[in-house]
């Protein structure tokens, strides 16, 4: 007969590698975390069409906030407002207040703002350059004078890509797989050491294994970088975020700790959406 120590299931080892001797620290609530963004009465218009209505939301520091909602509900518009990417679209008008660390973002130099608030898009969009240059580009633009090689390596390591590309740094970024390209884009965004990273459906074009890598990466990064992620994948929001905001028709319907929103939402519209009864 096998002894109790023989043939231990790998999953059991993963879950309980050793007896936990200290009580785990509970995840703090929004109240316990200092705010990175404070958004008040935000309205966003594309010409005559209003896309976001009177949105109030706090994004706490060193946490991941997920934005969910059906297509066209305004979540990507809202995300792009946080680093003024919407200003690249003609006839866009933003009203209301967005404070980053207590400062109005509309009073800031837009290049400086986008250095502090980086963005990763749905489709990986590396520059038509080498892997190395993709990461180094932002640093050069920002006038970085130090040891570029070190910082490129550091950024690629933070994006969990270094080990896979360290021997091919001169190769074109387009030679990488989709998941690697997306991590390269994250490395590029991280190179300028942003305080906030905005991720607009970063995994929608990726397979589950690569998605898991990106989610793990987000988890590793969150101590040093606040993140806001737009996702259509409910399980991803549930797995990867600390807070979740549900938007519908341009309005914020519900915002709470992710564990609460996905088990006991308070608004029936949230309930209907996350249980797949509409949207």
């Amino acid at each position: 007969m096998a002894s109790a120590t023989q043939g231990k299931h790998p999953a059991a080892e993963r879950i309980a590698p050793e007896v936990r001797m200290t009580e785990p620290t509970p995840t703090g609530s929004e109240k316990d975390s200092p705010l990175r963004f404070k958004i008040s009465n935000l309205d966003v218009f594309y010409g005559p069409k209003q896309a976001v209505f009177g949105l109030n939301l706090n994004i706490p520091k060193s946490k991941i906030t997920a934005l969910i909602g059906p297509s066209g509900c305004g979540k990507s518009t809202f995300l792009r407002t946080l680093n003024r990417m919407n200003e690249t679209i003609r006839n866009t008008r933003v009203e209301g207040e967005i404070l980053l660390d207590g400062q109005h973002i509309h009073g800031m130099d837009v290049v400086g703002l986008r250095r502090r608030v980086g963005m990763v898009f749905q489709r990986p969009n590396p520059f038509p350059k080498s892997i190395y240059e993709n990461v180094a580009y932002g640093l050069r633009v920002n006038g970085f004078k130090g040891r570029l090689d070190d910082l490129v390596e550091h950024s690629l390591r933070r994006a969990a890509l270094w080990e896979e590309v360290k021997d091919y740094l001169k190769k074109s970024a387009f030679a990488l797989s989709g998941g690697q390209q997306q991590r390269l884009c994250i490395a590029r965004a991280l190179a300028v050491d942003p305080e906030v990273l905005l991720l607009d459906e970063p995994c929608s074009a990726l397979d589950p294994v690569t998605t898991a890598k990106i989610e793990e990466l987000m988890f590793q990064l969150k101590d040093s970088c606040t993140m806001a992620i737009v996702t259509h994948n409910m399980q991803q929001a549930a797995r990867a975020s600390d807070f979740t905001a549900f938007m519908l028709d341009g309005k914020l319907i519900e915002h709470s700790e992710t564990s609460k929103l996905f088990t006991t939402p308070t608004d029936p519209r949230t309930e209907a959406y996350i249980t797949g009864r509409f949207g």
């Binding site: 549930a238 006991t264 939402p265 249980t275």
Partner: protein, 221 residues
């Protein structure tokens, strides 16, 4: 458009209610084997135990499959968690019914210790609690679930009363010790059935309102 997931949930609920009716009937028959001195009722309970156990496994498998394949959220998730726990409670109720049936077979070999007054009341209360906890699940009725929680104290009081009374019988006449002891076991099992019904009612409140009322002293939400 009704999704097949919703049909699966409804089917799961129906299977759970069927299991509940089996457990409830087993309790009724087991207690009436004692009260009406009908040994064949006890035999029926013993012979039907496997059906309840099989239902438990079937329901567990259904829950497991829906959790894995549908990755449910919110009320759907709470429902599946509640069903999983209720499933365990119903199986335990089935076990308590078997215990009572076994006591019935032993107690029937002896003359009746006393007229049965509290035992039928206790049985009615416990069976009613099981029935109403399941009705609360069907209707999503929190008030009905709460009324089940309140009734648990009455069952406990009747058990204490019965213990005291049977102790006096045993002290007066050692010839009744064996039968009286079996009746104490029956009362103890009925009290445990009340506890399981209480668990079910708590799970219904969790499913419907998202509130965990299992340990009020912890004062969570």
């Amino acid at each position: 458009m009704e999704r097949h997931f919703e049909r699966d949930l409804e089917e799961l609920k129906q299977r759970l209610l069927w299991m509940g009716s089996l457990a409830e009937r087993a309790v009724h028959q087991a207690v009436h084997a004692v009260l009406d001195a009908e040994e064949h009722l006890a035999e029926i309970v013993l012979s039907e135990e496997d059906a309840i156990n099989e239902m438990q496994i079937e329901i567990d498998e259904r829950v497991q499959r829906l959790l894995a394949l549908q990755q449910p959220m919110a009320a759907d998730l709470r429902f599946l968690l509640a069903v999983s726990r209720i499933n365990g409670d119903l199986e335990r109720i089935g076990d308590q019914a078997v215990n009572i049936a076994q006591s019935a077979m032993r107690v029937l070999r002896h003359p009746q210790v006393k007229p049965y007054v509290d035992l039928p009341r206790m049985s009615e209360l416990a069976e009613g609690m099981v029935r109403d906890s399941l009705n609360a699940l069907v209707r999503g009725d929190i008030d009905l679930a709460r009324s089940v929680l309140q009734r648990d104290d009455q069952v406990d009081r009747l058990r204490d009363q019965l213990f005291r009374e049977l102790l006096t019988y045993m002290m007066e006449n050692s010839a009744v010790v064996f039968a009286a002891f079996e009746l104490i076991l029956v009362a103890k099992n009925l009290e445990r059935i009340g506890d399981h019904a209480t668990n079910i009612a708590e799970d219904v409140i969790y499913f419907v309102a998202g509130r965990d009322v299992r340990h009020p002293a912890l004062d969570r939400r």
